[in-house]
Amino acid sequence: MFRLVLRGVRAHLGRLILTLISVVVGVAFVSGSFVLADSLRTIFDQVSEDAFAGVDAQIRAVEGEINSSSADIARFSDDVIDVVADLPEAAYVEGGIFSFEKAYTIDAAGEVVRPTGPPVFTGSWDGPSPVSSFRIIDGAPPRGQQVVLDPVQATAGGFSVGDEITISLPTGDPERFTLSGTIDFGEGGTGGAYFILFDLPTTQRVLGLDGLVDSIVVAAADGVSPEQLVEAITPVLPDNLEAVTGDVVIGEQQESFGSFISIFGNVLLGFAVVVLFVSTFIIHNTFATLVGQRTRQFGLLRSIGASASQIRRMVLIEASGVGVAASVLGLLGGLGVASLLKQLFSAGGGEFPDGPLEIRSRTIIVVVIVGMVVTLVSALLPAIKAARVTPLEAFRSGGRRERSATFRVVSGSAVLAPGLVLMAIGMFGNAGGTASRLGVLGVGGALTFIGVSMLSAMFAGPVASAIGAPIARLRGVPGSIARGNASRNPQRTSATATALMIGLALISGVAVLTQSILDTFDEILSESISADLFIFESNQGLEFSGVLVDQLGAIDDVDQVSGFATIEVLIDGEPRSATGFDSSTGTSVVNMGVIDGTAEVGQDGIALLDDRASELGINVGDLVSVEFEDGYRTDLTVRGIFDDAAVVESDWLLDRELTRTHTITDDVAFIGLTYVDGADPIATRAAVEEVASAFPQLSVQDNTEFQEEAQGQIAQLQIVITGLLVLCLVVAFFGIVNTMALAVLERTREIGLLRAVGMTRRQLQSSVRWEAAIISLFGALLGVALGLLLGSAAVIAIPDSFVRTIGIPWGQLVAYIILGGILGVIAAWFPARRAARLDVLDAISTD
C-alpha cells in the first residue's frame, strides 16, 4: 500500500509541489518569526552582557520614585560617588549620565548628522576603565571641551580626530568641541545608534543636569564578591538609592529587551498564523480535488479488496509526506524569511543589529508540528470523503453525491453566526480592554471567514456567472466557456476564491483602518488645534528643552506660545501622568473641549478629563492633592473639566510654571504657537525656524505639514503590515495556480474535444485565463466586502480617542479588486499554456 502511495505521489508530484508551496510559505513564516526573535534575543543578550561586563555593582534610583522624564531613567546627586569610593570593598567607582536625542553633531554644511531610525545617545565617558564597555578605536578619551564619537557618525559628518566640530545642545546654544577620538561599543559595534560622549562634568553641564548622575557603577576590590560589595554599599546609600550586582542589571536588561522581542516575535507569529490559516484552505482544496479526481481509482481499489481505512490512510500518508516536506523546507525557508523580514523592517525605518541567524531546537519542533498538523487537518475531510467512495463508483462516471445544500447552509450558518456575534461583542461589548476586544473581534473574524467560505459555495455559481456575463459578451466563445467553467463547480470556485478572499479582506481591512485613522486625525487637527505652527521632535517624539518656549515668545509676530510637558505625579496618592502647559496661552493653541469651568488652571489649579472626573467623582471647585518628583506636595483646586485629550494625551492638566519648578529638567513634548493678527506668515515662520534651529532635532510644521507627516508615517506602517499580508496573497496565488492546473488536467478530454472541433490554442488559453480571472474576481469582491466589514468593526472596537470616524479608501479597494483579477490571470498563465499545448489525440483518448 505504501508503494501505491509513493507511486501516486510521483504521479501527482506537480500538484503536490504546488500544495507544498502553500504550506511552506506559512511554515517558513512561523520558523522565520522564531529564528528572527531568537537571533535578536541572542544579540541583545550579548549587548547587555557587554555593556556591564566589568560591573560588579550598580547604584541607581529606587524604582517607583516619580520620574518626570519619560525617556530617561531617574537621576540623583553625584555626592554618593565619593562616599562609595571611600569603601575599602570598592576598587573603582564611576558615575555616569546618559540621555538620548538631546545633542547632535553639525557637519561643515550646517546640516545635522543623525541616523534614520536608531537614536543618538549623549552621555558621559571617563575613558577606558574596568567598568566601561566603550573602547577607544582611535585618539584619546574626552576631557573638558572635547568629545568622542562612534566611527559611523564621524564618517557621516566628515569629522576626523583633531577636528573642531559644532554640537547642538539642549541649552539652545551650540558649542564647539574638539574630536579627541572615536569609540566602539562592546564587541558588536553600536547597532546603528550614534554616540556623543563627553567627560562627566561636561555632560552634566551641556544636559543641564549639574551635580546629577543616573547610575554609578562599581568594580569590587580583589577578593570581594559582587554580593559582598552590594552589602557594603547599601548602608551608605540614602533611602532613594539602591545597589544591585552587575548580574542583576544584566538580567534585567536582557529581560526587558527579551519582553520587547517577544512582543515583536508574537506579532510576527500572528501574521504567520494568518498565512497558515489561508494555506489551510488551499491544502484542503487541493486534496479535495485530488481525491475527487481519483474517485474511480478508489472505487476500483475498493472493489478488489481495499478497505475504507486503507483508502483513508493512503490519503493521510500522502498528506503526511507533504507535511514533512513542507516542515523541512519551511524550516530552511524560515532563514530566508528572517533575512527578508530584517530587510523589510529596515526599509520601514528600523535598523536591525547584525548577527547570525539561529535555529533553536524549539523552532524545529514547533515548525514540524505546525507543518504536520496544518497539512493533516486540511487533508482530513478529503481523506474521510475518499474512504466513503463505494466500489461501484469505479465504473460510474459523474453522479458524485455532493453534500446537500441544506447541510451547507446549516453548517455554514452554524459557523458564521457565532462569528458575527463575537464580532459584535468585540465592537460593542464593554468588558475587557481594547486588546481583548480586538482579540474577540479577531476570533469572530476568523469564524466569519470560514462561515462565508462555506456558504459561498451556495452563491459562487450565480455570482461567477454574473461576473462572467460581460466577459462572455466581450470575448465570445472562450469567454462563455470560461464563464461556464467558473460556475460549474461552485464548491471549487469558492474554495479557490477563499484564500484570496481572506488575504484581500485583511489587506483591505487594514486599508479601511488606516484611512479611518487618517480621517480621525484630520478631524482632531481641525477640531482641536488652533495653533499656526507646531514644534516637536518628529523622529521618536522625544522631549526637548523648554527654554525654546520663552525664546519663541520673544519673537515679535508670535502671539501665543505654549509648551506641553508630560510629567509623572501622584494625585491623591495615585501615580498619574499629567501635562504641564502654559495655561494662560495654551487654550488658544489647543482646544481641549472644556465642558465645565476653564482650562486656564493657573499655578494653584488643575483640570481633568470628564471620564476621569466621573470615575473619581471630582467636580469643579474640589481640591486634589498633588505630589511632584522632587517631593513637593500641594493641594490644587479643580478649575475645569475637558473632554478632548487627543492632543494633550493625558487626563490631567497643570500649569507648566508649576511643573517645571518641581521637575529636574524643564523639558516639553511639543510647542504650539499662533501668529499675531495680520502678521506675515512666511516671515514669522522664518523667524520661528531661525530660533528653533538651535535644536536641530526639531521640526517646525503647520497643520497641513503635520497632517502630511502623520499620513506619511501611518502610510508607512500600512506598507509594512500590507507587506506581511501580501504573503497571504502569495499563498492564494499558488492556490489559484493549483486549482487551474487541476482543472485543466481534469478536463483534458474535454479540452481535446474543444480543440478537435476547431478551437484555437489561443482561444483555449484565453478561456482558461478568463476562468481564473472570474474566480479571482469573485474572491476579491468577497474579500474587499469582508475587509470593509472587518475594518469598520475594528474602528468601532478601538477607543474613539485613537480612531472614531470610519474612512473608506474607495480607490484602494477598487484597486485591490482589479489586483485580484490580474493575480488570477497571471496564476493561470502556466496551466493555460499547458492546456493549449495538449496533443489533441492524446487528450481525447485519456481516461
Binding site: 508503494r3 507511486r7 504521479a11 476500483l300 478488489i304 479488496g305 481495499a306 466500489p391 461501484l392 481516461d847
Partner: protein
Amino acid sequence: MCWQTADMTATTPIIAAAAAVDAVKTYGSGDAAVTALDHVSVEFAPGKFTAIMGPSGSGKSTLMHCLAGLDELTSGEVTIGDTELSTLNDRQLTELRRTQVGFIFQSFNLIPTLTAEENIVLPLTLGGRKGDRQWIDTVIDTVGLRDRLSHRPNELSGGQQQRVAVARALASQPTIIFADEPTGNLDSNSGGEILAFMRRAVDEFGQTIVMVTHDANAAATADRILFLNDGQIVHDMSEPTADKVLDMMKSIGN
C-alpha cells in the same frame, strides 16, 4: 479445511460458489422506481463458466454487482461460498472481496501508477499477503505477460491491460470471478484470447467464472448461459452453441 466443510454439510448437495435467492433490486422510489432485479434466484456451481446475456438495461450488471458484494440488494439473499452477504459489515465485505471474489471490468481495470505485476498482486498486497508465488507465476505465464511485467498500464494495449485484469482476478484464487463485458472494448482477436484464458482457468484450475457478454460467440464458450430480461431470468441454457444462443437472443428481442 475444505474437506471438513464438505463433511459437515454432507447431507446437502455441493455448496454453490455463489447463489442468489429471491433477489430484488430497485433503484429510486415512487413513480421513478426502476426494478433492475425482479425476484431472481440462481446458483453458480463451482468450477463452471457461466455467461449472462440479455438486452441492455435488463439487469445483468446489477446482478453481478449484487452477487459480488459491490452493491446491496433491496430484498433477498446472496451467498458467496457459505457466507451470506447481508450479514457482513463493511470490513468483512472488504475482506470477502479481497479473498473470495475477483472482478474484471469492461474498462479502467488497472491502477495507472502501478506496473502490470504490481496490479496483478494488488489484492494480495492490500491484504498484506504475499500469495502463492508459484501460482502467480503460473497465472502470469498463462496470460502470457512475462515480458510486460514492469510496464505501466498506459504502455500496454487494451488487450494486454485486460489480460492483466484477468491475471489479477486469478491471483488470489477467489471462490468466484465476475467479469462484466470483459471483451466489450476489445477487437475479436484480443477478445478471443481473453475468453481462452478464462476458459483455461475454469478447465485447468477449476476456477468459477461468471461473465456478462453481448457476444453470442463469446457466450458459446461458456458451460451455461443465463438469459435476463426486465430483471428476470427468462432462460437457463446448458451446453450452448452459437446458433442456439442467437436463436434465443432473437426470441428475447421479440
